[in-house]
Subunit: 240 residues, 2 copies
DNA sequence: TTAGCCCTTTTTGTCGACTTAAAAAATACA
DNA sequence: TGTATTTTTTAAGTCGACAAAAAGGGCTAA
């Protein structure tokens, strides 16, 4: 209600170009979910959204079906739709899959990368460095995701790429918490690891790429774990 | 047109129970695509389907959106929808991912299986044996898929399970060709491998499970490869 | 006061019609 | 006769409305 209300101009005329409706809704909602603008577990109302985007329920519905099939929202049959909750019991599985995908995609990138792709990856890496320098957390998360996605794509196995991107997206919601646990040192560690990773990929050194990716993943997992268990200790310290 | 025409009873009354429309359409179409009843590349007409299933285009559309997000159909914007073609150039990637998922899911099953799950898996394995005995190709493909899916589920990592099931489904279309290349010996080899696999899982012998899964995957990939390259030679022998 | 039933409310699922993009066909032109 | 342009056709995208579940609230009876 309080967000995008253009229903004042008589008619909410802002005609999308046909076919763009679904895309707009889909991408906007996806971004908002991943950035935690829409809180996990909060209800998703079709009518409200259709008003907000100035379109009928049909395209909204299609966007929601897509998001549901990516696991970003959950639909309770005949009753309410909610933003997918973050299931902390799933974390070990998540970490396991994430680590494997880090390794596999980086390995494949070392095998199959083209020169153009290396250039692109280096560019993203530079962007990451900038974000770290500027202490721009949102930027770091964003660029970091694109950096690893680009590596995965250079590996040229779309099965891995898809799963990995999904994991990275899923992870972005965690990262929102996670990055808040940063002291200023850690991003530099990652920066160096990224650097080494790119070098290994460029040199087509598969084993090195694997090793670095593995270490990188472990590092990240360890960090998130530390944050979460620290969080638990907070509760544990409540006097009884 | 020639299929399910109930529009004679005044009204096409065959009322699904609300919510079941989409599910029916989705599952039916999915099955037909995987069984090659719907040929890869053949057009999918919403109107025709809505007539066939006796429902409006809306639920059909939703089913198609889901199928599209699983990669089983391809939608050309504003113009036609087709059953996803089988891309033979993708095969190396497919094999790679399939092999990895075989290994990972079997490993995890060996780590995490419960006694109930082992029982269930053994049951499916028995079903597979029966299908082989009866030389029921469709049955073999079906049970084989469920056998491996059950193992994956016993591994309890839904990220892997989902990807693996998708790969197995995607593979079912290939298997339709593939199984036709069977001589009577091969299914028995698989039977034995399955047997060993279950034993390793039951014994919680992770390394053995991994080794067997790897060998199993290699065996399958080799077989499909052989079939495909044999097929190529057929063309190569055309006199010029 | 409390338990059970009925009615209202809310939100999803489905429908049929309309709109429009893009391909195919038909036409005109060189 | 070949190519460019217009027209037709087809199927996807969108809309507004209605129907049916499920949850919540209110009412009655014990």
């Amino acid at each position: 209600m309080a967000n995008g209300d253009d229903a004042k101009t008589g008619r909410p005329r802002a005609k999308h170009k046909r076919g763009h409706g679904v895309i707009t809704a889909y991408e906007t909602l996806k971004r908002e979910i991943l950035e935690l603008t829409m809180a996990p577990g909060s209800p998703v109302d079709e009518i409200q959204l259709s008003q907000r985007f100035g379109m009928s329920r049909t395209p909204i519905r299609e966007a929601l079906v897509r998001l549901a099939s990516e696991g970003l929202i959950v639909t309770l049959p005949n009753r309410s739709t909610i933003v997918a909750p973050i299931d902390f019991l799933d974390l070990p599985q998540f970490f396991d899959a994430l680590t494997l995908m880090y390794r596999v995609t980086t390995r494949l990138a070392a095998m199959n990368r083209s020169d153009d792709e290396i250039a692109h990856i280096r560019q993203l890496q530079a962007g990451y460095a900038e974000a770290v320098e500027a202490k721009d957390v949102a930027g770091m998360i964003e660029v970091n995701r694109h950096f690893h996605a680009a590596i995965a794509r250079a590996g040229k196995n779309h099965y891995y790429t898809e799963l990995f991107e999904r994991l990275l997206d899923e992870g972005r919601r965690l990262l929102r918490f996670y990055y808040s646990s940063f002291n200023d040192e850690l991003p530099r560690v990652y920066l160096q690891e990224h650097q080494d990773m790119v070098s290994a990929i460029e040199a087509r050194d598969i084993e090195a790429a694997d090793r670095i990716a593995h270490a990188h993943a472990d590092q990240i997992v360890r960090q998130i774990r530390a944050y979460i268990s620290a969080d638990r200790r907070l509760n544990a310290s409540i006097p009884l």
